[in-house]
Amino acid sequence: MGKDSRLILDPLADNNPITIQVLGICSALAITAELEASIVMSISVLFVLGVGNVVISLMRNIIPSKIRIIVQLIVVATLVIIVDLVLKAFAYELSKTLSVFVGLIITNCIIMGRFEAFALGNGPWRSFLDGIGNALGYGIILIIVGFFRELLGSGTLLGFPVLGDPIEKTGLYALGYENNGFMLLSPMALIVVGIIIWVQRTRNKALIED
């Protein structure tokens, strides 16, 4: 059991797909301006990676090695289309916000990376745990970045105005506070991810590369 729990816990911190392996950066920069979008994106990747890892793991002995990338792509594409259709059906506004980035989950390096590195060589249960762990590690960074960007950039959290009303000048805004427009631009997401990487490596010196 100890070994299995590591599959979930490692990607959350010391082997995080975003801050340590620096994978899946595109979507982390593009859709984290709002916390809600970050959460939905995380859940989508959780579903795709969890199910995809199990499917690939089940098929791992019958996939010819020469065409394995194509097979993996078909599995991801199928799962992503399911996610896309579900979002369009039940959260149309949000799927507009996420726009092309739901489709681009297909090209998320984390997913192909886990298929290649883990699911092809391990059983379904361990693959499932690995998928869930990496998706959570991805999601936790997305949610941290989304939290700060929405709070400082728009003054809201999940659309709820936590800092007061910027037009009516209530709450913090009465004191002269203003939203930081830079937070809503993608470069700031890169800087926030950078700061997370910085803090993480300062706390755990073993993670610093030469």
């Binding site: 002269g176 506070y177 203003e178 930081n180 427009g181 830079f182 631009l185 800087i191 950078g194 910085w198």
Partner: protein
Amino acid sequence: MGLKQNLHNFKEKNKDKKWLPGFNALFTFLYMPNETTHNGTHIKAADDLKRTMNTVIMALVPCLIFGMFNAGYQHYLTQGLIESADGFLGASFWTWDNFVIGLWKVLPLVIVSYGVGLAVEFIFAIIKGHEVEEGYLVTGMLVPLIVPVDIPLWMLAVAVVFGVVIGKEVFGGTGMNILNPALTIRAFLFFAYPTWMSGDKVWIHGAVERDQAIAAGQNLDAISGETILGTLAQNKEVGYNVMDMFYGIIPGSVGETSTLLILLGALFLIFTKIGSWRIMLSSVIGALVMGLIFNGVVSSGWITESSKFYGLMSTEFWHHLLIGGFAFGTVFMATDPVTASQTTKGKWIYGFLVGFISIMIRVFNPAYPEGVMLAILLMNVFAPTIDHYVVQGNVKKRMKRVKVKTA
């Protein structure tokens, strides 16, 4: 036993304490430390980092003083309290009233800039356990000069923290930074709080409050303090003559309006060999070339008055040197020895592109009238690449010579 000895003993006693670098920084500001070389001196150089920085600050002081007068002058002019605008040598400019208003508005900017910036430097020095570096001395003086006079102080403080930490400390502190910290601070303000960094209200003290009062229903005349670049970008006529632009009696950031005083600062920097004349000259050439190209486009009839670029494109090419922050950026920011190119040939290329791109951004993107800021930041990023190719080119040339000899 004097104060100095007491302080020194205090230092010896607390050798292992974490906060010692902070103490040392203050100590060396007051006294020369006791740890001097005991043997003969080997290298004698008068210009250490502190001396270099102080020279730049001295070159900036005229701009700062002028900025204070100008802030007050523009304020009273738009309030209608100064009737006749009689220019640089006129009696209504160098008045005590103008200076007091300017001092009242600009001094807090200087204090916040230095206070916050040095606090960040101290904290990092203590965490990292090295001596406090002097790197912030010049940045701290540049920052108040390149922001609008009415910028809220807390915004400035946030930007300074961002600029010093992300622009400098993450790269390893003074001398290791890729981007000019002062411009990083300005760029942060520009993108984070655009309403306070552009438009026709922020450049003159009191214009924003006047605007709010009018919105609240008070019967007042609105103030329009559009900068020249802003006016040109809207294809409107500019109400200032060339001498006003040269002397700097125009709305703008605190210390960047007076081309005359910037020129004096430039001569001082060149004379003391602190600033690179190559970068300044090539940057001016670059700007003039771009300006001439635009003028040529207009005179050949490709662009007509209906074009949204007409106002800035038809500006006489040498006016570009006088308006906006171009002169200030070229003299004081592009020449920053840490972030500029290091090689001689590289400096010419770097400077030329700074000028060239500044004017290009200024004309083609009216949303970012201050092209010089973005141009310098962009070229900061490319400076190491330019140097690399200059050095490699030199190596190749010499290798050829070697081959010819051996053959």
